[in-house]
């Protein structure tokens, strides 16, 4: 089997400015933060980012990496609003495609299945259609004749996800209670890069969790990165909880330009190893 091991910086090197990139996880939960930090260190710009958004979106907004964001919400969960995302929207520096969160699932699923769209009631009657005038409705061809929203497929150039365990061939395992939509991101993307808490031999996967935990299969993945504490400061159950104290520090810094520069100097100016040393030091 192909050995797909690579570093986070090599993943960033595979990406191009202008790409559409999906980021797995949910809010401030199991986000591929080490891969996001690799993008922060890179020269990438003009990205279209697709996310059930959390601090991944906030950090990329703060670094000016995002030109368009496709999302259902952006939140830090225990802190409802994401300050960098708010600032970017209020300054008008990103184009916003805001969907119902179920529509986002459908958009990824349609892309994963190679369908042009999937129908739903979600969005009908709301301003989803007003603020996204490119959206169209369809009529059921059956006797019910129902009008439905046709959620267009959202194919991704690349997807970034973070799982608990993986092997070198790119099979990845979720040990926490929720995969979120990581498998749909992976299947909707031309190339999926998975970071993991721990890289294990293939035979060890089934001993860590049941077979139903093997939700990311190797056909979905192009690269595997070992990134211990790589979801920090978001949660990565059962390996670790969200670092709430650090998240509060992040939010406080984000609200003040000087404090933010200091935060960047302390945590984001070096390598991933520097980051991990700074947060544990």
């Amino acid at each position: 089997m192909t050995d797909k091991r690579m570093t986070a910086d090599e993943v960033a090197g595979e990406l191009r400015s202008g790409m559409t990139i999906g980021i797995g996880g949910w809010g401030s939960r199991r986000k591929p933060m080490a891969l996001v930090r690799a993008i922060l260190r890179s020269g990438l710009t003009d990205l279209t980012v697709v996310s059930y958004g959390g601090p991944d979106v906030g950090l990329l907004c703060a670094a000016g990496k995002i030109s368009r964001l496709i999302y259902g919400f952006v939140s830090l969960d225990s802190i409802p609003l994401e300050p960098h995302f708010q600032a970017a929207r209020q300054a008008g520096t990103i184009e916003a495609t805001e969907y119902d969160e179920g529509m986002l699932q459908w958009a990824l699923y349609a892309a994963a299945l190679g369908l042009p769209f999937l129908p739903t009631r979600a969005g009908l009657g709301s301003d989803v259609l007003r603020v996204n005038p490119e959206l169209r409705t369809v009529r059921s061809p059956y006797p019910d004749d129902t009008e439905l929203l046709a959620v267009p497929a959202l194919p991704l150039d690349a997807a970034l996800i973070h799982l608990n365990r993986a092997d070198a061939a790119g099979t990845a395992q979720v040990l926490g209670p929720d995969l979120y939509f990581d498998d749909l991101y992976a299947a909707a993307a031309a190339s999926t890069y998975v970071s993991c808490e721990r890289l294990v031999p293939t035979g060890a996967l089934i001993t860590d969790g049941g077979f139903s935990s093997l939700r990311i299969n190797r056909w979905m993945t192009a690269g595997v990165v070992t990134a211990q504490n790589g979801a920090h400061f978001t949660s990565c159950a059962p390996d670790y909880d969200r670092d709430e104290a650090f998240q509060r520090k992040y939010v406080a810094a984000a609200k003040d330009p000087l404090a933010w520069r200091e935060f960047e100097d302390t945590y984001l100016s070096g390598s991933e190893a520097d980051y991990q040393a700074a947060v544990t030091g």
Binding site: G72, V74, E101, Y180
Partner: protein
């Protein structure tokens, strides 16, 4: 009768008014946003709506009754990751109580942005599941601070769908720190159902930026029963986190 040391707080009246939103709902998922709706959902299941399903706030369905500021002790009775929640939403087997930043006379609600969407004065969390929720299952609303800027003639971004949008919705009630409201007026206009003990009708209308439908004398919101009060105070919220969301008696 309630004795002197058992003065009922405003938060307790609100919790019971929220619980009543799920009365008669049967075997569906009760999703509560905010502390007082969370108390209400647990109270409803512990008393008059025993078949309700509740989550631990992550991906598990749990039975039992536990404090709002503690992790659920279980027992776990089901697995409900977000994928399964979305399926259940679209199947209609849920009644959520959400917190609008703005709500209008026909129940359109906004959690997306204040000001024009294209260039908002204040970006909020985003639409989340509000568009799909409102066209698929019942959605009630909880407003911890009933203010004119929340009850507006027109919301800036329609996230949750109201009764005047040409698509069927079911918005059973709106509970605030002042009153209970519903959409029982002409053409489903918002109607004042009851005011909480100690609140006047004028206080409600002065804090609402559109005309409420008022049918004659407005009754008081019901008070908790002794059993409900004991459950709230001893089991569901022994550390009175409810008073931080709605202070005062």
């Amino acid at each position: 009768m309630i004795s002197g040391d058992r003065v009922i707080s405003r938060a307790e009246v609100c919790a019971v008014a929220c619980a009543d939103a799920w009365r008669g709902d049967g075997e569906i998922l009760a999703s509560a946003f905010g502390t007082i709706p969370a108390i209400g959902a647990r109270l409803a299941r512990a008393t008059f709506a025993p078949d309700l399903m509740l989550t631990d706030g992550e991906a598990l369905l749990v039975s039992g009754t536990w404090p709002v500021d503690e992790p659920a002790p279980g027992p776990v009775e089901g697995w409900l990751p977000f994928r399964a929640i979305f399926d259940l939403v679209w199947a209609g087997r849920r009644h959520a109580m959400m917190i609008p930043s703005q709500i209008d006379r026909f129940g359109n609600m906004n959690i997306s942005a204040i000001g024009p969407f294209e260039h908002p004065d204040r970006q909020l969390i985003g639409m989340r599941g509000a568009p799909g929720n409102t066209v698929c299952h019942p959605v009630s609303y909880w407003v911890p601070r009933h203010l004119p800027r929340v009850f507006v003639p027109r919301v800036d971004v329609i996230c949750g769908v109201g009764y005047d949008r040409g698509i069927p919705v079911d918005l059973p009630r709106v509970v605030t720190n002042l009153a209970v409201l519903d959409f029982g007026g002409p053409s489903h206009a918002m109607r004042l159902v009851s005011v909480h003990p100690g609140v006047t009708v004028d206080e409600v209308t002065e804090n609402t930026s559109f005309d409420l439908v008022i049918d004659g004398a407005v009754p008081q919101t019901r008070r908790p029963t002794d059993d409900e009060l004991a459950l709230i105070r001893e089991v569901i919220d022994p550390r009175r986190t409810r008073d931080r969301e709605v202070p005062g008696s």
